[in-house]
């Protein structure tokens, strides 16, 4: 059997992490290709439901990344996001969603190397955890073929 290749969805802000990821490329730093990047105007715009939808659609891991505190293009979007992440993470933890699979980070436009590092370590840790089967079982075929009671 081929080695498990994790599918990872990255929700990133346009101004810092997306630019940072660009820099990773232009600096020719090689990094794992398991990540699908979704660009948002700001981390403050990343609805927690989107993270759940990523798991629904088969993601094994998620990266959420934006500007460092005090660097937000819109002044405080990342501060708001951070507060929401705190609560969302703890709710996920409480409901048994594997929080090891959701990675939060700050990556600025200048941190091309850090982005590569975040992706590589996330891919490595998800690879170790294996596919997110628990969630997939619930998400994939939720109504039984012939259900009863």
């Amino acid at each position: 059997m081929a080695e498990f290749e994790p599918k990872i969805v990255a929700f990133v802000c346009n101004w810092c992490t997306y630019a940072g990821a660009d820099l990773t490329g232009t600096s020719r730093i090689k990094y794992a290709s398991n990540v699908r990047i979704l660009r948002f105007p700001c981390t403050g715009r990343i609805d927690y439901m989107l993270l759940l939808k990523a798991f629904d659609e088969g993601a094994d891991g998620i990266i959420v990344s934006g500007c460092h505190p005090n660097d937000c293009h819109y002044t405080s979007g990342n501060f708001h996001a951070r507060r929401r992440w705190i609560m969302f993470r703890s709710l996920c933890d409480f409901t048994g969603i594997d929080t090891r699979r959701i990675k939060f980070s700050w990556v600025s436009a200048a941190e091309g190397a850090k982005w590569a590092d975040i992706v590589n370590t996330t891919v490595a840790s998800i690879r170790e955890l294996g596919p997110y089967t628990e969630y997939k079982i619930v998400a994939n075929n939720p109504v039984k073929e012939v259900s009863h009671g």
Partner: protein, 341 residues
């Protein structure tokens, strides 16, 4: 026709259960969890509860599951493939411990699913269900089966109706249909021949509280009554009443996609929800809760009798028990009867 009456010893019920299992029947029976009694698949006889006036949810799910696939589709290079569900996969089910108000509800539900267009998914499920009714020896303030054409020992809808002869007593079994007889034929030793037993004195007493024909007559002229507004003021618009009801059949059809394949699902819906009749344009024919409450009562006591020749209420009282704000349907029906036009 004379009803075939047999005696089933109290201890024989477990044996009967085992025989059914050996005959690869799936058995649904009442179990208690978090102080709520509900039907679920029974692996063993122990644990089946007998201590309940009425289960929290009705048994309608065996024929009308709350989520039910109606087709699967997949897209690939060759095109679109759509496949209905295979009705042959539906298991043979014994529904154990159903109260007579629920067994009566089966007929009312069937009337909806067979109104001109025959719903074969529903009919196929139902045709594989054998119903073991259990008469009521107890009732509570919510029960009103006798006001809507039922009674605590009603045989309607059961294949076999069991009536316990006194607390801890043996059971009288009335074999009512061919399905019932076929159960007897695989376990005939357990169904003993018996002298005529009168079950009436072992049944709960449920006094009749209203005349449903009279209510139906009033409802004809009641559409614009202020009463709906008054009654529904405390209604908070949830769907609990509809979901526990043995005869509520309203449903939604939803598609569930996963990549290039998915399924179409029929799932329960409730006329109590504000979005139930909402048009995409924003227009809503039933905009406020009083109109939705009116629909609920009208549907059961006027529209169904007029269009389907059956009433849509069996007097099980579940909706009142389940209601988070104590909207008591019996009280409301009585107050409709009492209004002078």
């Amino acid at each position: 026709m004379n009803i075939d009456k047999r005696l089933v010893r109290k201890d024989s019920l477990e044996k009967l259960f085992d025989i059914l299992k050996q005959n690869s029947k799936t058995i649904y029976a009442p179990f208690s969890k978090n102080s709520k009694v509900s039907f679920r698949e029974a692996d063993s006889f122990s644990g089946i509860t007998t201590d309940y006036i009425q289960t929290t949810q009705s048994s309608k799910e065996v024929a009308f599951p709350r989520n039910e696939k109606i087709l699967n589709y997949s897209k690939d290079k060759e095109g679109m493939k759509v496949k209905g569900i295979d009705l042959n996969d539906i298991p043979e089910v014994v529904l154990w411990g159903v109260r007579p108000c629920d067994t009566m509800g089966i007929g009312e539900l069937s009337a909806i699913f067979n109104w001109d267009y025959k719903d074969e998914i529903y009919n196929n499920r139902l045709s594989r269900v054998t119903v073991f009714g259990f008469s009521c020896s107890k009732s509570d303030d919510y029960c009103f089966c006798t006001s809507v054409g039922g009674n605590p020992g009603n045989t309607q809808g059961s294949d076999i109706l069991f009536t316990q002869l006194g607390e801890n007593g043996d059971y009288l079994a009335e074999i009512l249909t061919d399905k019932g007889s076929s159960i007897v034929s695989i376990s005939s030793a357990l169904f003993e021949k018996t002298e005529n037993i009168e079950k009436e004195k072992f049944l709960a007493e449920v006094p009749a509280r209203f005349e449903r024909e009279e209510i139906r007559g009033k409802l004809e002229k009641f559409f614009d009554s202020q009463l709906w507004v008054e009654q529904s003021l405390k209604c908070i618009g949830c769907g609990a009443c509809a979901y526990v009801c043995p005869t509520c059949a309203c449903f939604d059809i939803q598609d569930e996609a996963h990549g290039k394949s998915g399924s179409r699902v029929r799932c329960w819906d409730s006329c109590g929800f504000s979005t139930f009749t909402l048009h995409t344009s924003g227009h809503n024919p039933r905009e406020v809760q009083s109109q939705r409450w009116r629909q609920r009562i009208m549907h059961k006591f006027l529209i169904m009798p007029d269009r389907l020749s059956v009433y849509g209420c069996t007097g099980c009282g579940r909706c009142s028990r389940a209601c988070p704000v104590d909207m008591n349907i019996l009280e409301h029906l009585i107050s409709i009867q009492e209004v002078s036009l």
